[in-house]
Subunit: 667 residues, 2 copies
């Protein structure tokens, strides 16, 4: 395959035009030269191992074969992780990367059936088990003597977990809990690895003891025999079937019929049930908040990673693809020279940085606040919660939308599995629903914002909301600056929150119950929360870039600043209706913003390939015929097609069986 | 399966609340009682035939098995179509429905490998063949002695067909054409059925004769032996691999190495090559326009059909699903009671009607204009072309977006293949790219609009653009009426076209070439064309409803009018930035529009299930556990999961092979 040694001349040309040192940006993104080297050596450790690769591309396998191949790969993968650990090279830290969008999705392209063991089962044992429970379970789980999952969601209840129906009734006589699924809707549904992989689960169920329901609590339940893997009596279990994506995660269902577990299998770090059935309540419900927010940090980061992958693929393809004519009698230009194409690509490119920075900010805030929690200080938790909700909702929704724009920007070839864009979308659009459905999360942030608005004295101490105090009074003569954009967005967000609050009050005044007034205003509440989130992201982006100024070269800073400006301009141009309504911005200012956008696209154009090169994805991670470093798009597409088992024989058996008899039949 | 006899009580309640006769709406949509009966009897003829059904749901099969099953089904399907024809029950007409979104996708859920034989191969023979060629080929094709496809798109060229690279060189000595693929990018890529199904193709290639290139022309090429199906010498052929959707269409690639065909295999109705190699040009290029526009009519209609399916699924699910609480201590409401959910569902519901009416209008216009063409009158062709481009682009993009909104509105369950929403999206998002990529189409409409703007005297005779003459001078004090919305949209569209034109001129004045100025203004040109298209759709919708007023009951008219209003309000609220900029509309008018939207959602709420019931999709057509008529969502999800081959055995072999050794290994 000779083409693999030569780089497509269009990419050579693009790379020679780049005005900054791509390696500097790579190091900046990784967090320093050493981190880059660590990442690269970890990537080599896993990706250079041929046993981890699949012989046939997954998409050609049957659903069952896909699962079997995924189990093979994930056992090998985690054995390698254990090797690393035994050599003292990092513990849990490895898992983040190995299960995430960078490395994890390069090996198990359509999901990993053992992920939840590491991501949910072990952390839940650690977070919610007593010291004795940890002693009993964690070593077994850590060494994979048992494989667990986390069974919370049910057929009838997802985001609203208080509504879960599985029941764990305490039996004082035997000192056991009896688990039951009283309805079809109470079947557990969705947990990864639950179908055929895990033999244990943490099950979330309504705790009944001494005739009273104490709400949902976590229980350790054995599902399958440790030797034979056969489901235990009373356990009705299987996988839920095919999905838009993640078809190797082995999502399962689970029903209980009088399944008995020892009292000590209830995770009792917080609340407890004593042998006589007495319920002892948790000191604070907020203690379990932490993990939920942590997962949202991860999601914002993953949204950035997947968007970066899609940007790399679409940008390189747009440099290599030639199409149509700008001027008659001139050669077909690279499609990246069309302004409409630039407008599809580059705003997504800037969003990669914005979500990355938002994730870092959220992570820092999370660490500060959990530090405070340990000293008993709870007051910053609501703001953190509101920020985590809105950042998760905006980042996942925008990343999914962005990936689809990028996929469509690759025309027909973007529709091919070999582009890897369809499955990237499949992974990211799922994030809009799990770990809190986006509309529900936006309404939670809205609830916080309305509360703030109604208690302005609280605002002074809230960094992400302080602007609400004064924004409405700001005068905003147009300036071509990101600071101006932030002020305009803040004034608009404040205006939308004020309006939503006013609408609720009007409805209440007319005699509506507050809750109904809230529901009737919810479209505007969602929009207000969304705009608040976008404003926050631009603010964080600007603050991050300002902090970087001392650390990076002028050449790189110019590019980072252009991307920041583009993100800000694109954000404000996406809500001109609100801007014109809630601020004194004029039509001619919008024209100026549009011109600014066009200038920025032109400025970023020569560096676009350099920027995505800096993301430094190995070809195995991109897994895309359109996005590889050498840009040999068409050779790779043809090569990929040869891997189809249908192409292994010139005539498929269906010709003889069906087609020929049909064609030869006399009418 | 007892649940199949009982209707979910939530749906019973919804149906009892419905304020109009759903049958009346069904008849209206079908075009009368008789048409409804015809449709239903055709549906029975195909869907009640158990041999047409698959034993295992397609999604569980391997890629190869999916293809083999599709060939089985499509041979049976077309044999049944031939039966109907032999009984004199319709000819080509049957194919529209049998291959379309209503019936076709109910049988071959992931595409049909023989579609292009009927949709492109036969029509091209008919449209571009001489009388002699038709005599030679059509009977063979019609009786399926040969199966053809249409090979135009190449690896390197899609929408820009002038750039195609396949060459057909005329050899005067042998009176043959010699076909060659001079580059990798010249390989044919994408044609449906080309991989392993068709044995003939119409191939579009650059015609070279007597040393001169005469541009692209169609040729009939035999690909495979009629008896053995083995590819003929010089034919490099196979399938292109997996895609986001339509994995049973057997899209193929095709390369030529000195493939010789007789001179008479060039389709010569328009241009000809004489035996001595002389090229005789076509009298008019515009004659081939017709088919292209016809296909776009079909796409607008299909966009409406698929959107209706998705609406039916999401609306019924939203009536059955209960979640969370509006008020504490009250039972969990149907999720359709949340205003945010209504705002996801009902605008899509109104869009179904708008696209349906737009398709009908385009079809009528198409027939008028092709009628004129036959009398040599060409002047209305550009307007028809511009309208077809923009309606195809807006309808397919909005339908795809709408289906994703609906899918996400079903939460996690919408992500399941069993919801049928993922594959519905897969089919519709493809339409955004094929038959003219949407951005390219919008720019074609923009070119027409700018030409009109520069020649205002031409506007008087253009029904769809006449508004441009006066719209900018209109005064628009807010009124709560669809007419007002249309005027506001028209003024805004005119403003955007004027601005884009001004920007081009400014750039030219600064010394830019017109083509570069065009490219630099293209973001705004695309937006202007899009708004023009949306305005046209609202106009057509209003005109259609006004014509219906005499024919339908007051009860039904009330509902149709609410849907029209909702479509209009939703359309204008999606572009408030432009409205505020280009008209004298004020912020308070936007508030009034928002209130109007909220009122309409509340008004439509009680009839939502009734409206989707009127679409009258059989459960087999919906093919969705979430959308069936009886609303037994959870029972069906569990039942569907049982069909997974993974669930056929309690322990998968991967346990013994990989998982157990991994779990038992000593670290």
């Amino acid at each position: 395959m000779s083409h693999k040694n030569k780089i497509n001349p269009d990419l050579v040309k693009e790379r020679s035009k780049c005005s900054f040192n791509t390696l500097e940006l790579t190091h900046l993104i990784d967090g320093g030269v050493e981190k880059t080297n660590e990442r690269k050596s970890r990537e080599s450790f896993f990706l250079d191992d041929p046993s981890l690769r699949s012989k046939v591309p997954l998409e050609y396998l049957s659903h069952k074969e896909k699962y079997e191949e995924a189990v093979r790969q994930s056992c090998l993968l985690f054995r390698k992780v254990q090797e690393l650990q035994n050599e003292g090279k990092g513990g849990m830290d490895n898992f983040r990367e190995i299960l995430g969008g960078q490395l994890g999705s390069a090996i198990l392209k359509d999901g990993n059936p053992l992920t939840l063991h590491y991501v949910m089962f072990i952390p839940t044992l650690m977070g919610q088990g007593t010291v004795e429970q940890q002693a009993e379970w964690i070593q077994k789980a850590w060494s994979c003597d048992i494989i667990g999952t986390y069974a919370q969601t049910e057929l009838g209840h997802g985001t609203f977990i208080r509504g879960l129906e599985t029941i764990a009734t305490y039996d004082t006589k035997t000192e056991e809990f009896v688990l039951n699924s009283p309805t079809i809707t109470s079947y557990k549904w969705w947990p990864g690895g639950l179908g055929h992989s895990a033999n244990y689960a943490v099950v979330v169920a309504q705790l009944h003891t001494l005739g009273k329901n104490h709400g949902i609590h976590p229980f350790i339940v054995q599902l399958r025999d440790e030797e034979t893997h056969v489901p235990l009596p009373g356990i009705k279990i299987g996988e839920i079937g095919c999905k838009l994506g993640m078809n190797s995660t082995n999502n399962g269902y689970l029903g209980f019929e009088n399944v008995r577990i020892p009292r000590t299998n209830m995770l009792m770090k917080n609340s407890r049930v004593l042998p006589d059935g007495t319920y002892v309540q948790s000191p604070s419900n907020k203690l379990t908040y932490g993990t939920m927010i942590f997962v949202r940090v991860v999601l914002v980061q993953d949204a950035a990673t997947y968007l970066k992958k899609a940007c790399t693929i679409a940008t390189r393809y747009s440099a290599v693809r030639h199409q149509s004519q700008i001027k008659p009698d001139e050669p077909e230009p690279q499609i990246m020279d069309y302004l409409t194409q630039q407008n599809k690509l580059f705003p997504q490119l800037s969003a990669c940085f914005s979500f990355q920075y938002a994730a870092t900010w959220l992570w820092d805030t999370y660490n500060n606040v959990t530090g405070e929690l340990e000293t008993g200080q709870l007051e910053n938790l609501p703001e953190l919660h509101a920020a985590a909700c809105v950042l998760k909702a905006v980042a996942t929704a925008d990343a999914a939308r962005g990936i689809e724009i990028l996929r469509l920007s690759c025309g027909g070839h973007g529709y091919m599995t070999a582009s890897n864009l369809p499955s990237t979308y499949g992974l990211v659009t799922a994030m809009c629903t799990y770990e809190g459905e986006n509309t529900v999360l936006l309404l939670q942030t809205a609830r916080f914002l309305i509360k703030c608005w109604q208690n302005p004295q609280s605002l002074q101490s809230l960094p992400s909301c302080k602007y609400l105090l004064h924004a409405l009074n700001n005068k905003l003569p147009f300036q071509k600056s990101v600071n101006w954009i932030i002020s305009a967005l803040q004034k608009t967000a404040a205006g939308k929150i004020e309006l939503a609050n006013r609408r609720i009050n009007e409805r209440v005044r007319k005699g509506m119950a507050y809750e109904d007034a809230w529901n009737n205003t919810s479209i505007e509440l969602v929009q207000a929360a969304e705009l608040h989130g976008r404003t926050l992201i631009v603010e964080i982006y600007l603050a991050t870039i300002q902090k970087l100024k001392q650390r990076v070269s002028t050449e790189l800073m110019t590019v980072l600043d252009q991307l920041l400006q583009l993100y800000a301009v694109d954000t404000i141009l996406r809500c001109t209706g609100d801007i014109l309504k809630f601020t004194e911005v004029q039509g001619r200012d919008i024209d100026a913003l549009q011109t600014w956008l066009e200038e920025l696209l032109t400025l970023i154009r020569p560096n676009a390939v350099g920027i995505v090169d800096s993301f430094d994805f190995r070809d195995e991670v991109l897994a895309s015929a359109l996005g590889s470093y050498d840009g040999n798009v068409y050779e790779r597409l043809l090569e990929e097609a040869q891997k189809s088992p249908l192409n292994a024989e010139p005539v498929n058996k269906s010709f003889k069986e069906y087609l020929k008899p049909f064609m030869k039949a006399q009418l």
